[in-house]
Every structure is written in structure tokens, then in C-alpha cells.
Symmetry: C2
Subunit: 423 residues, 2 copies
């Protein structure tokens, strides 16, 4: 979505800003040996979970474009739709494996020998195996009991390992599964030698402290890596991923703009926003953050959606400051009302001054941008005029500028009252 006409603002120079001033709160938790917040890995699933988004249809060319862009961004893994889903899905999987990307290529398969056999032939680096373990899915989806699930899991895992590929084993709907069943299953597959186990909040019901507790418990049961897959139905997908990392998870599933089944999963950009606040150095060194908007635009166009107005980092208002009190402080030091430096993502800041909530500090900056000179008293006077008009109707940047210029002109014609103008 393009900024609408009445989003008037003044872009600030970025060079004046010091990253060291973006410090976190003074009583952040002390170092925690469990936490992987500073060494997490991304499993990018736009080409798997994202393909399950209502609007998604990716042809081969688009899939390749997206895969290359994600690889360039620096994601650790790219996950693809199961080659068992359709013939074209299989061909696309093979095509992407042949691109020679730095990212490892994974495909996502049901826990059956049939699917695994098709998948191992595509050239992928690893398989993400999944099976439903909640009583809902056991009853209404596949109809299998835990004994059967365990037996299939061992068979499929051993087969994938025999092909020399990475294997992840995940339950589906983990947060509505029986804890003892789940831990028992994970302990078994860990002993069989999986690279990762996965925890999936398939319906988006989990809450952050619940995620922390489950992952921390699991951390004590398995020695392999732990991946988490969080849906966003109740608005916790980013938080839940973060709390999982705090509890010892190692890998997070994301998709561009969060697209996936229903309203989707943890978004790549949103997770970057969360993680850069926690460890700016790790995130900025590992990922090409200034490519984020380009990737989002590519995917948004492919699935015919608008980037949400309030999207993390790239939404049109993410770095727009409006209330007078905010504008004043931001002009003094951006860290006052910003925890993320827009320049890290190649974005810019706007200080909104054409509204009734504006303050004279914001107007003063605008006066300077227009190349005019006024005393503080004069700026305060013209601010009153801007607020008065903005009180009656929405005003655009042009309107505010006109008021400033007209006021400045009246000062010129009244020289004794405004000696500062001529300097």
C-alpha cells in the first residue's frame, strides 16, 4: 500500500544516529545458558507453508525467484512442498535442488515410506517428517495410535538416514497432544538419530509461557536440535518463537509476510524485528536485512496481496511519529521512541508534523528543511496556526508548508518584529 496523501512527514538524516544508544532495558534478564536467542537458525517455509496460503499459486519461475532471494537474504534452510503433493511439485523440488544455493533444501513429508521414497530422490538435503499426535488428529485425521506412529517414525527415519540425508521429526498440533506420549516419542526418535525434533503449534493456540515450559522440558529429554513452527491465529507466533529460543530451541520456521494456512505463521520480517532488538550484531551480520522489503514485495505480488499497513519494519507507518511529544523526543534522539533503527533495513523515518497532535519541535525541523529561519517564538506561533487548521480537517504536508511559508512572508514584511529572519 502506498502512503496516502495525508501522511505528510519529514525524513531525517540517518547518519546522526548511534547504534550504541539503542540499548535494551536496564534490567533485562541476565545471561541464560539455555537461550539460543543469539544463535538461532531460520527454516524458511514460504515455498511450503506459504504455498498453503489461500491465494498462493507459485509457478516454477516464481519459486526459483523466491528461493534465490531467500538464499541471498541468508536463510539457513529453504523448505519446499512435498514432492508427493503433485507431479509439478516434484519437478519444482528437483529444479530448486539443482540451483546450487548456499541454503540447505528441505522438503516436508508425511510420515510414510511412500512419501519419503519419492522425496529422497529429488536431491534435497533433508526431509522434514511430520505426523499428527493430538487426539483430534489421531481420531479425525489419520486414525493411528501412538504405537503405530512410533513404529512408522522409526522406519521412515532409518530409511532417510540410510540415504545420507538430514531428518527432522515433528509432531503436528503438539500443544494439544498428551505430554507423556510426546516426550516418549521424541526420546525414541532422538535415540534413533534424528537431526531435529519439531514442536508445532498447528492451530495457533499456544501461549508464550506454555511454549517456554514445553521446550525447556523437551530440552532435557533430547540431545538433538529443536525446531518450532508457530501459527498466528491468536497473535503469538513471534512471541512463541522467541520464547522457544529462550528455552533452548535452535531453529524457527518462518515465511515471508507470514503466509500459510489460515492467517499464517511467524513472519520473517516480524521475527527479524524481534531478534534485532535482542541481538543486533548476530542478526545484522548474518542476514541481508536491507533486502527484506524487496523479498516481501516479490511474494506479495506473487500471491496478490497488499503488504499490511502495519507490517513489521516495512509497513508504511512502522517508523512514522506523530504526537508532538514523540516528535520532539525523536528529533533529539531517535532511541527515545524507536527500538529499531530503520536504516538497518534500508528504511527511513518520518516525523509527522501536519496534524493537530503536532508540536513546535517537529514544525521547527520542517522550517529548517524548507530553508527558512525563525525564532522559537515564531515557530510556536506558526505551530498554533497549523494545529488550528488541522483541527478542522485533515491537512497534507503541502497545506502545512503553505502556512509556514505564508507566515514567514508576513514576518518579512514586518521586519522589526522578526530580526532573526534576515540572518
Amino acid at each position: 500500500m502506498a502512503p496516502s496523501a495525508d501522511v505528510s512527514g519529514a525524513s531525517l538524516p540517518m547518519g546522526t544516529q548511534e547504534h550504541t544508544t539503542r540499548q535494551s532495558n536496564p534490567y533485562q534478564p541476565v545471561g541464560d545458558f539455555l537461550s539460543n536467542v543469539s544463535r538461532f537458525k531460520l527454516i524458511e517455509s514460504t515455498l511450503r507453508e506459504g504455498e498453503q496460503f489461500a491465494n498462493a499459486f507459485f509457478d516454477t519461475e516464481t519459486k526459483i525467484k523466491i528461493a534465490r532471494a531467500l538464499d541471498d537474504f541468508g536463510v539457513d534452510y529453504i523448505e519446499l512442498t512435498s514432492p508427493a503433493a503433485s507431479e509439478q511439485s516434484r519437478l519444482d523440488c528437483e529444479a530448486i535442488c539443482k540451483l546450487g544455493l548456499k541454503a540447505k533444501i528441505l522438503t516436508h513429508v508425511r510420515c510414510t515410506m511412500e512419501d519419503a521414497k519419492i522425496a529422497v530422490e529429488t536431491g534435497v538435503d533433508g526431509l522434514d517428517v511430520v505426523i499428527g499426535t493430538s487426539h483430534f488428529l489421531r481420531e479425525f485425521s489419520h486414525g493411528k495410535d501412538m504405537e503405530y506412529i512410533t513404529k512408522s517414525a522409526i522406519e521412515v527415519i532409518n530409511f532417510i538416514k540410510s540415504k545420507g540425508l538430514e531428518v527432522r521429526f515433528s509432531s503436528e498440533d503438539s500443544f494439544r497432544s498428551d505430554l507423556v506420549d510426546l516426550l516418549s516419542l521424541y526420546r525414541t526418535v532422538d535415540k534413533v538419530g534424528v537431526n531435529r525434533v519439531g514442536i508445532a503449534d498447528t492451530v495457533g493456540c499456544a501461549s508464550p509461557r506454555q511454549v517456554y515450559d514445553l521446550v525447556r522440558t523437551l530440552r532435557g529429554v533430547v540431545s538433538c536440535d529443536i525446531e518450532v513452527h508457530m501459527h498466528n491465529d491468536t497473535g503469538c507466533a513471534i512471541s512463541n518463537a522467541f520464547c522457544a529460543l529462550e528455552a533452548g530451541a535452535t531453529h524457527v520456521d518462518v515465511s515471508v509476510l507470514g503466509i500459510g494456512e489460515r492467517n499464517g505463521i511467524t513472519p520473517l520480517g516480524g521475527l527479524m524485528a524481534r531478534m534485532i532488538v535482542s541481538d543486533r550484531e548476530y542478526v545484522t551480520k548474518k542476514y541481508k536485512l536491507h533486502k527484506l522489503k524487496e523479498i516481501e514485495d516479490l511474494v506479495a505480488e506473487a500471491v496478490q496481496i497488499n503488504t499490511p499497513f502495519n507490517n513489521y519494519i516495512t509497513g508504511f507507518c512502522a517508523f512514522t511519529h506523530k504526537a508532538g511529544i514523540h516528535a520532539k523526543a525523536i528529533l533529539n534522539n531517535p532511541s527515545t521512541y524507536e527500538i529499531i533503527d530503520p536504516a538497518d533495513f534500508g528504511m527511513t523515518r518520518y516525523v509527522h508534523f501536519a496534524s493537530r497532535l503536532t508540536g513546535w519541535n517537529a514544525v521547527k525541523t520542517r522550517v529548517g528543511q524548507l530553508g527558512l529561519t525563525m525564532t522559537d517564538e515564531q515557530v510556536k506561533l506558526v505551530t498554533t496556526k497549523i494545529k488550528a487548521l488541522a483541527d478542522v480537517r485533515p491537512i497534507a504536508i503541502d497545506d502545512a508548508d503553505s502556512i509556514i511559508r505564508s507566515f514567514h512572508l508576513s514576518l518579512d514584511s514586518d521586519a522589526p518584529a522578526a530580526p532573526a529572519v534576515s540572518t
Copy 2:
């Protein structure tokens, strides 16, 4: 945003669904005496925080419409822009106080006698007083020290109480303030007799477990209510509000679609999604959830934005199911892949069957909706045909229906092969 043409789907009857089957996970935390998850109150701030959204300009008529709609929805409080912001803000505040709404009316003021004096004359039920306490805001915004802040707070609070009004005292940027300063200040204002203290994550940097810890600590220091105000810059606004309630907070600030400074705060709809999963009875009895979409549409139009494609509950894909394995289970029992019943919000579910990820269970339902009869084997065969076309290009519901009808016709002309068709 209107659903685009290729979101083909089959709406399911709602009456078949039992709410009792939407149970939570089997190992949810046991009852916690600190938690207010089942008795939270809403402070709706679309007309204050929301007015600080880049695009917002609410004229008096729009403000009144929004206030009435929120009141009808059942919010406990409606918070308005400070009457000190502009003359029209003051007049609008008076006008809304005169509507005789069930919700209490609050206005949000800086911690100064000047602002408080203007506000108490408007007819509001209470004042939300705020002052910055982080070293950033003390240095770059108002330039006051903690001693000065404490002194002003006491004076302003006593003045408001002398007028018989409710008073909340909040720090700004609480999560980057010194913990000891903060607790000391809150203990003081609690003793002076405030109704609520507020914790504000003004820059959106806080994480869920950090919020839990701070609110739980504060719960042991003050005896008054605790309000939280969470910005969403790093995607934790809903989670942080939820964790605050778990730790003993009583009131949550929200705005429609989350609109506010930058990318906004905890959204009303998103919080409803979170809370209905935690306590369906409390939420459905207290709030008119089926009015949510109407309120969101009203505000979206007033500030000229599109509802995000992935918006909680009301986004066009919130209840759309696409992958074959999901569709099959949803058709058996919606709880398998849905934690929220769309009917609670007057919304409907779509099972997407016109894609290459479809499965024969979804197609079988569509065959039934078209009034056709086929054996399972025949449905599986036509599913292959649909997937084959969907593998080549995006297909619309009409395309899939055409394939089904054409296939069904071919069965009629080949009677011996399809005896079930004629029954």
C-alpha cells in the same frame, strides 16, 4: 480487502459444530491465583492512541460513531485524546462525555497541573496520567529527574482525586526505566490512592517473560489495579498483554486494528482471538463479538486503510483451509485445525479445494454441494484431474466445478462403470 477471484471455497454449515470440542491442550497450566485472564477489562484507545496513527483524522461525527460502536461492543473504558491537544479535541471530549454511554470515559494527559485542570472540566469519568521515566525520556524529552516526577505525580493525583474522578498513573517506556525508581514511584502513587498504575511498553521492546516478571513484581508492591499498554514494533503486543494478565494485571489497552503510533498497539480483535481461546465463556458473555468486523470496517474506512489480509479473525484467510490433509480433518471435525469457532464472530469457514494441494475429502464435500453423487473411487479420480489442472495454473472455483460436472457427465454416459451415480 475483498477475497480475490481464485480463493475458491466451500462454506460449511455451522450448526454441526460443538463448542465443547474446542478444548485446550491437556497440559495447560493449572489454575493460578495471580492470573486475571478470566476477568480482564478493556481500555479502548482508538480515539487516543489510534488518533496518533499516521493516517488518522477523526472529525466529531466519526468520533461519536466509533465511541457508540465500542460502547455497544462492550468495552469497559473509552480513552480520548487529551483536551489540551487542541480546542477541537476538548470539544469532542465534552461531546462524547454527554452521550451517556455505559463505558466509562477517560482522557489521557501529561503529568502537569495545566493539563489536568483542563481535563477535569470536560465531564470525563477519569484521567490517565502519564510521564516518561526512562533515562531516554528524562534526558531527551521532558528533562525532569525522579524527585521532580514524584512530586508532580502526587500533586496531580491529589488534584484529580479532589474532583472525585478516577485516576491512573503510568510511566512511559517502563521497560527501559530503572526498576528501583519505577517500583518506588508506583509504591508512592499507590499510597496516595490511584485507582490504577500503568506499565507501558512505549517502544515495543518488551518480551513476554520480561513482562510477566515485571508485572508479577509490581503486583507484590501495589494494591491498586494494573493496566498495561503494549506497542507492537517487535510483534509481541498481544502476547505481552496476555502474559501481563497472567501475572496479575487487570486492564489492557487496545485499539481497533491496533492503530497507533508507528505500527500500533495490541489490537482489539487480536486480543479477542487470544482471550476467547483462554476463556470462551467470559469473552462471549461480555463482548458482542459479532460486531467486531463492523467496528473494524468503520475505523478502517475512517483512516483510509485496508484490513490486512492476515488480520485476526476478520482477515479474508483467517478461516480458510487449503492443504488436503487439513481439509479432510476439518470436514470431520473443525477443532482439528481451528482453535477459534468462526461462528462466535459471525464469520464463516472456507475449505479450499481448487488447488494442487487439495485432497479428495475436500472435493467429495464439493461434489455433495453441487448435488452430485459419486463413489469414493470416482471422487479420487476427479481429484486427480483437478490437481493436474491446478498444477499448470491457478484455478478458480468455477474451473474445479466444471471439471467435476464434466467428469460426472462422463459417468452418466458410461452407466456400467458407475452404478452408484444413479442412486
